[in-house]
Assembly symmetry: C2
Homo-oligomer: 172 residues x 2
């Protein structure tokens, strides 16, 4: 009934701890790098709140279909790119090419195949947007020659399943 012997609560804990570890590692590693932050998928705004704390002073560009976050976590209107990722992300990737220090992409849904496909489609756009040395943190695996995978075990999360969350550094 439970994947890998883990309950849904345990897998969920691994996921949110992976988010925190990945975002914190990206913040530590990109401190000297200029650039904006992307939050791809706002949801209820929990990770947005964490991003604006860990990347204080940086613009955070937020992508989602609608702003449905907690009242404390509403992004400034001019930072929001409203609509389908298939429209908003390519447009912004062209505009901000090479100028993004960090992308956080929590884009999965209950449909695993569709989530994986969306992750594959987004990957080259994130590579285009990221500055060299920039970080990509997300809930989908994103394979690209320009991306060096960072193991969760190497960022203080050795107790998590290796696929609880995904962290990459853009080479260069």
């Amino acid at each position: 009934m439970n994947k890998g012997g883990k309950t849904r609560l345990e897998r969920f804990i691994a996921r949110v701890v992976g988010q925190r570890c990945g975002i914190d590692a990206a913040a530590a590693a990109t401190g000297a790098l200029a650039g904006v932050v992307w939050e791809v998928g706002l949801g209820n705004g929990r990770t947005y709140d964490h991003l604006r704390d860990r990347f204080a002073g940086r613009d955070i560009i937020v992508f989602d279909r609608q702003v449905a976050s907690h009242p404390d976590c509403i992004p400034p209107q001019d930072m929001v790119r409203l609509g389908d990722f298939h429209d908003t992300v390519p447009a912004e990737a062209t505009r901000s090419a090479g100028a993004v220090a960090m992308v956080h992409a929590d884009v999965g849904s209950g449909d695993i195949a569709a989530s994986r496909a969306l992750g594959r489609w987004l990957t080259p756009l994130f590579v285009q947007a990221l500055a060299p040395g920039g970080y990509l943190v997300g809930d989908q695996p994103m394979e690209d020659a320009a991306l060096e995978p960072i193991a969760l075990a190497d960022i203080g999360a050795a107790d998590l399943a290796p696929d609880a969350y995904f962290v990459y550094r853009k080479r260069g």
Copy 2:
């Protein structure tokens, strides 16, 4: 902006880790105790999934306004008490008085005062339902002379804020 210097993501992690620690501690402590389990607030079913793993073989009675959980976490229909807690919990507390080994009550909403008030209203009903030695685990503080508070630090969660989640043992 962030309560106690913690981001919403950090407070959320403390909450779900507190759920896991509280439920696991209750399961370990009540192994020899007969009785059913109550899940007060089903939500998306993450903790229900954890309860049915940790309390395997026991009936789990589920209280909520509707069944809106993940498709993998739908309780058997005869175990569901559908409706307002104000109606369903007193009725079941009378029916199961002293026969409940463990109550998990995740009943809070965004309205903190209303959540605390609901917790206070539910407390004597849970005391009535619980067997002596039974456990109460929840997101609201529940003070009653019959309930011995268990500190999170004493159940392997010393790194959490003491009010991240609440655990009690019914005396006797």
